[in-house]
């Protein structure tokens, strides 16, 4: 057979067409899930495992035949720990990629950077990270622990194991500021006294003078909602000064990025935390989850609490789509508001129709040899903080983040 220019062009065009056809068909057919996460930069310890978790969740959904007989496709962007990129990528997800839902955002600052964009674009939004609570928005769902689920139990537990005088060190942005107010409320509710509150911008890494200042107040307990890679130095310097043996430490954030595995056992031992998930939970679902994770990634090192809540968030949404029989925003919201519930590695998670937050299990834990040992489990705690201020059933157009007055 001789190959002249015309027959070559004709055959390659046909071949290219044939190759592209299924791709186009697939793209039209797939349900598109958009995500924005910090997979690099100073928050990558949070974002990278979340990215792994979402890939695992999507793979599980697809292996089970997809949703509504359609495959699920991830469209994910790395926001590089840069808040400006969140708005940019959120715009791209809704305008260019036309995704059916957006999951993601890690810091509360990043959530607030994209929430209004997604609301205006009528694109359903899932924020799957523990946070300061109080956001009331019918377009969004929240499955992380909020202060009433976490700080309300952590504060009295930590105080009972130390004493009533508490010093708070918090990250200086909306999460840290609001969480610090909640902590002060719970400290006062438990007859304690807040002897000092300090805020640190996210790039502060030298805590020498702070550690000395804390000692001048000689508190019984330090609670540290610190965030990100730079703030990790605090725990190192705290231990380097020998303070970890003298003043107990509790945190609402330490460990959600597996900080307790980055720190040495001596640096981390004894820290008190309260989360929805620990790798050490010995339940059949968690063990099965860890096995699937190992099959996909080799070992369980990366799994942490917000990776699991991100994973749960994707399954919650998938369940919502199944119940609605559609990916349409309003249909999914209505289905979710029917008290939808999923069970996974972190236990049962049920959507509260009034607030779009989740009722979930909370575990009081102590860091011991780079593990989170569960000391006490509290099952199915509702998000009462947000319930007190937010009622989307009566007021579906609400679009506020309520903050605690203290």
């Amino acid at each position: 057979m001789t190959l002249n220019r015309r027959s070559f062009l004709a055959s390659t065009a046909a071949a290219t067409g044939a190759l592209m056809m299924p791709a186009i068909a697939r793209a039209q057919d797939a349900i598109r899930v958009g995500t924005v996460l910090d997979v690099s930069g100073i928050f990558d310890a949070y974002g990278t495992p979340m990215d792994m978790a979402q890939r695992l969740a999507v793979q599980e959904i697809n292996d089970a035949g997809g949703l509504l007989d359609r495959p699920v496709e991830l469209v994910s962007y790395d926001t590089q720990s840069d808040m400006a990129l969140y708005t940019q990528y959120a715009q791209r997800l809704v305008r260019q990629d036309n995704v059916d839902v957006v999951h993601g955002g890690i810091l509360s600052a990043s959530r607030e950077a994209i929430r209004q964009t997604l609301r205006r674009a009528n694109t359903l939004y899932f924020y799957n990270v523990q946070y300061e609570g109080g956001v009331c928005d019918r377009n969004a769902f929240f499955n992380g622990v909020t202060p009433a689920q976490q700080a309300e139990v952590l504060v009295p537990w930590a105080m009972s194991r130390s004493g009533p005088r508490v010093y708070i060190l918090a990250a200086d942005y909306n999460y840290g500021q609001i969480t610090a107010r909640w902590l002060q409320k719970y400290i006062a509710d438990n007859d304690g006294e807040t002897v000092g509150v300090d805020f640190f911008p996210l790039d502060v890494a030298d805590f020498g003078s702070t550690i000395a200042r804390i000692q001048t107040e000689s508190p019984d307990l330090v609670i540290a909602p610190l965030v990100g890679g730079a703030h990790l130095s605090f725990f190192r310097q705290w231990a380097a000064a020998g303070m970890n043996d003298r003043i107990p430490l509790a945190s609402t954030t330490m460990g959600v990025g597996n900080e307790h595995k980055v720190l040495t056992p001596e640096e981390g031992n004894g820290m008190m935390v309260a989360y929805n998930y620990s790798q050490e939970l010995d339940t059949p679902l968690n063990n099965a989850f860890k096995e699937r994770w190992v099959a996909a990634y080799g070992d369980t090192d990366a799994i942490h609490e917000i990776a699991v809540s991100h994973y749960m968030g994707l399954h919650l949404w998938a369940e919502g789509v199944r119940a609605a029989g559609s990916v349409d925003r309003d249909a999914v919201i209505e289905a979710m508001e029917g008290g939808l519930s999923v069970e996974g590695p972190s236990g049962v998670m049920t959507i509260d129709p009034q607030t779009h937050h989740a009722t979930l299990d909370v575990h009081l834990m102590e860091v011991r040899d780079q593990k989170m040992e569960v000391a006490e489990s509290l099952s199915q705690r509702p998000p009462v903080d947000t319930q007190a201020v937010c009622n989307l059933t009566e007021n579906p157009d609400d679009n506020t983040q309520y903050e605690i007055e203290f």
């Binding site: 300090d198 640190f200 003078s209 190192r236 310097q237 380097a240 640096e267």
Partner: protein, 288 residues
């Protein structure tokens, strides 16, 4: 009383870390008038050299005090030969070139070490002063910076090489006429400056985690200290670091570390308004 000791140690530590951060720049900028905007990245390179060496099983003190300065000194030597030697006396051009170098280095760090926080734990345990606990590593930093200042002083004042270097910085043509090669003197001085930056980065690495962009946090403080110090190298460095360290810690204790940093910058502005050519242009004149 105990508190006074703690505060004293913290103040000394703040001064010492300013000395460390600025020493390399004081040599490169103060002596050679090369505006090295990649100074912060030289420090970060020292930090990464330490962390890598420790990861390979090297003793942490060997890694910090020997390997890191050697690595960064060698790197300084190479970029001096390739880039800076062509640009001496052209201040704006060196700024541009070193800025480019800093961007390149940040990119390289991201590729090699990942855009993530890496760190090592401090090698010295904390100890008690009365009722207070102090980070033992602070003392190490204080000792290193004192030794560093004394060593620079001894080399510049006590050795022939130091004398030749000082001469060449003031009048390169005269040094050349007397049979010394300014080219080689510049090369050596730049490499030593780079090695000092590497040492600083290495010694500070166990205290704060490293990210590829960490250099930016150092460079402003380094330039402020060197410029406010003025013409003499050691006296300028020590006096500027002492003033800023004191102001910084005073406000850190009184208010918060953030206000401490703000106070440092305000102090620098005021100081440069009063003494535009630096502290040692008015006090300690003619000292080294």
């Amino acid at each position: 009383m105990d508190l006074a000791v703690v505060i004293l140690v913290e103040v000394l530590y703040a001064i010492a870390s300013l000395v460390l951060i600025s020493a390399g720049l004081a040599v490169v900028f103060g002596m050679m008038k090369v505006i090295n905007l990649a100074h912060g990245e030289f420090m970060v390179l020292g930090g990464y050299a330490t962390i890598t060496a420790v990861g390979l099983g090297v003793n942490i003190f060997v890694a910090m005090l020997i390997i890191a300065p050697l690595v960064v000194g060698l790197f300084g030597l190479i970029v001096e030969r390739l880039v800076f030697r062509h640009l001496y006396g052209r201040m704006i051009d060196t700024m541009l070139a070193s800025w480019g170098l800093s961007l390149m280095m940040i990119g390289a760090f991201k590729m090699i070490f990942g855009n993530t926080t890496t760190g090592v734990s401090g090698p010295i345990p904390g100890f008690a002063v009365g009722n207070y606990q102090i980070n033992g590593y602070n003392f190490f930093i204080i000792v290193v910076s004192v030794v560093l200042l004394l060593a620079i002083l001894a080399v510049l004042r006590g050795t022939r090489a130091g004398l030749v270097a000082r001469g060449a910085m003031q009048r390169a043509d005269m040094a050349s006429a007397l049979g010394h090669s300014p080219d080689r003197i510049y090369m050596t001085t730049f490499a030593i400056g780079a090695a000092l930056s590497g040492l600083a980065g290495a010694v500070l690495a166990p205290l704060v985690g490293l990210v590829p962009t960490a250099g930016a946090a150092f460079i402003a403080k380094a330039f402020i200290t060197v410029i406010a110090g003025g013409p003499s190298l050691v006296a300028g460095l020590a006096s500027a670091a002492a003033s800023f360290g004191l102001v910084n810690q005073f406000f850190s204790f009184l208010v918060s570390p953030v206000v401490g940093d703000v106070a440092l910058l305000v102090a620098a502005v005021v100081l440069l308004r009063l003494m535009p050519r630096g502290i040692t242009s008015r006090f300690l004149r003619g000292k080294l």
